[in-house]
């Protein structure tokens, strides 16, 4: 059983003098799919990045705990899987090379079976030795899901997870989100109705603050 919790306490973010949001507080425990919604510019992606530890909040705190122990910021990357359209993998390498280096840099042995299984599920197995620069934008988006899942993270943050994907790709993503949500926390930042329909709870961001939840 995954014993992971994510707690946001009065999180605030501003870029220079421009306030993006303030006083965001919530707690996510153990498993489930949680959505972040709101109009363009409301700070969905910024909040997703703060939750994933990619940027620091201007105020407040985000606490990640595994088995009731707070995770140190320098070790957080091993617990997080992250997908977004602005995440870019090394396009001079093939998919296999990317995953080999990612595993080794994380300090783990590449799990060949798991990676091949994910490549098959995301319909990229036949292209695994091709340089990523030869992939279409949809294929690159599918590749990012393998990147996010290959180290079995406790928390998966998905920012606009189905952008650039065709119907087949979307179905693969929805299926895998459903499976992973059985024992992991998944956060989806999106405005797509279908993406948000997967979520048990949705946090609404508007007018620089959390305006409600479902």
């Amino acid at each position: 059983m995954n014993n992971y919790s994510l707690q946001a306490n009065a999180v605030k973010k501003n870029f220079g003098r421009r306030l993006i949001f303030s006083n965001i507080s919530f707690e996510l425990i153990n498993k489930g799919i949680f959505g972040i919604s709101g109009p363009n510019g409301s700070g969905k992606s910024t909040l997703a990045k703060i939750l994933a530890g990619l940027i620091s909040p201007s105020g407040g705190k985000v606490i990640h705990k595994s088995n009731s122990k707070e995770i140190l910021p320098e070790r957080l990357h091993n617990h997080i899987g992250f997908v977004s359209p602005y995440l870019i993998l090394y396009d001079e390498f093939s998919a296999s090379e990317n995953f080999y280096f990612f595993a080794r840099i994380r300090g783990i042995t590449p799990d060949k079976n798991k990676i091949e299984d994910l490549l098959k599920r995301f319909l990229l197995f036949n292209r695994k030795e091709d340089p990523v620069k030869t992939y279409s934008s949809g294929m690159k988006q599918r590749l990012k899901f393998i990147f996010a899942l290959m180290h079995s993270p406790d928390l998966i943050v998905l920012d606009e997870p189905t952008s650039n994907l065709d119907e087949e790709g979307k179905e693969s993503v929805y299926k895998i989100i459903g499976e992973e949500a059985e024992n992991k926390i998944i956060v989806i930042a999106s405005n797509e109705e279908r993406d948000l329909s997967l979520c048990g709870n949705i946090i609404m961001l508007e007018n620089f603050k959390l305006t409600g939840s479902r």
Binding site: L54, S56, F82, E92, E97, R104, I105
Partner: protein, 219 residues
């Protein structure tokens, strides 16, 4: 080992993209050629040879070593690195890559200098090698952390040498003096003060880099 694999990733990436190597080679050839053409048949004194040697090293380093973080930022892969490695792993991997690059670059420059410049005759090899090692470490570490600082800024190409100059000046001046000492045949005992300056510079830059990098890397 994590840092080694990050270095390995950069090495394989460099072999395929040639971000740094091509500009380094071109810069070394152009800089040495310009100096040779400028000198003509004049006889260059030892102190000028030592100074020109470090001028070529400084500007070659400016053209190649900055790529460490700038290429990640320009390609948009910085976030990917943040998601797979701790800040200390990233910095160590980048420093290893720049160390190897700077040692290779300076071995080539030294080789070219010893062939083309008659006055570049080393009398005290041990002093030259100690200075070469300490100077290269200082250069690689400084270049790496400066690259990390300016990677997120605009006008990176201009900012890199501008910011590097004051930071690298104490190292370049002292290393140029030590190179002159090794050409003159000065003993190590007489060069202890300058060697201590370079060694202290290295220790300060390594410590400051690891202390500051967390703050530079995250936002």
């Amino acid at each position: 080992m994590k840092s080694y694999y990050l270095f390995s990733k950069d090495y394989h990436s460099e072999i395929r993209t040639r971000y740094a190597i091509n500009s380094l080679i071109m810069f070394i050839i152009v800089a040495v050629s310009v100096i040779l053409f400028s000198i003509g048949n004049e006889r260059v004194p030892g102190n000028l040879t030592a100074g020109l040697y470090w001028v070529v090293i400084f500007f070659s380093a400016m053209s190649g070593l900055g790529r460490a973080f700038i290429s990640e930022e320009e390609r948009g892969t910085s976030m990917t690195l943040q998601l797979i490695a701790s800040p200390s792993t990233v910095l160590s991997g980048k420093i290893i890559f720049n160390l190897i690059l700077v040692f290779a670059m300076n071995i080539v420059i030294t080789f070219i200098y010893s062939i083309l410049f008659e006055e570049f005759v080393i009398q005290n090899y041990i002093l030259f090698i100690i200075n070469f090692i300490l100077g290269n470490i200082g250069l690689a570490v400084s270049a790496t952390i400066i690259s990390a600082i300016i990677a997120k800024a605009g006008s990176k190409g201009t900012l890199y040498p501008v910011l590097s100059f004051p930071i690298l000046l104490p190292l370049i001046l002292t290393s140029a003096k030590l190179t002159l000492f090794s050409i003159d045949g000065t003993s190590i005992n007489d060069a202890v003060f300058e060697l201590a300056i370079v060694a202290c510079y290295d220790v300060i830059m390594v410590s400051a880099s690891y202390m500051l990098f967390d703050f530079i890397w995250k936002d």
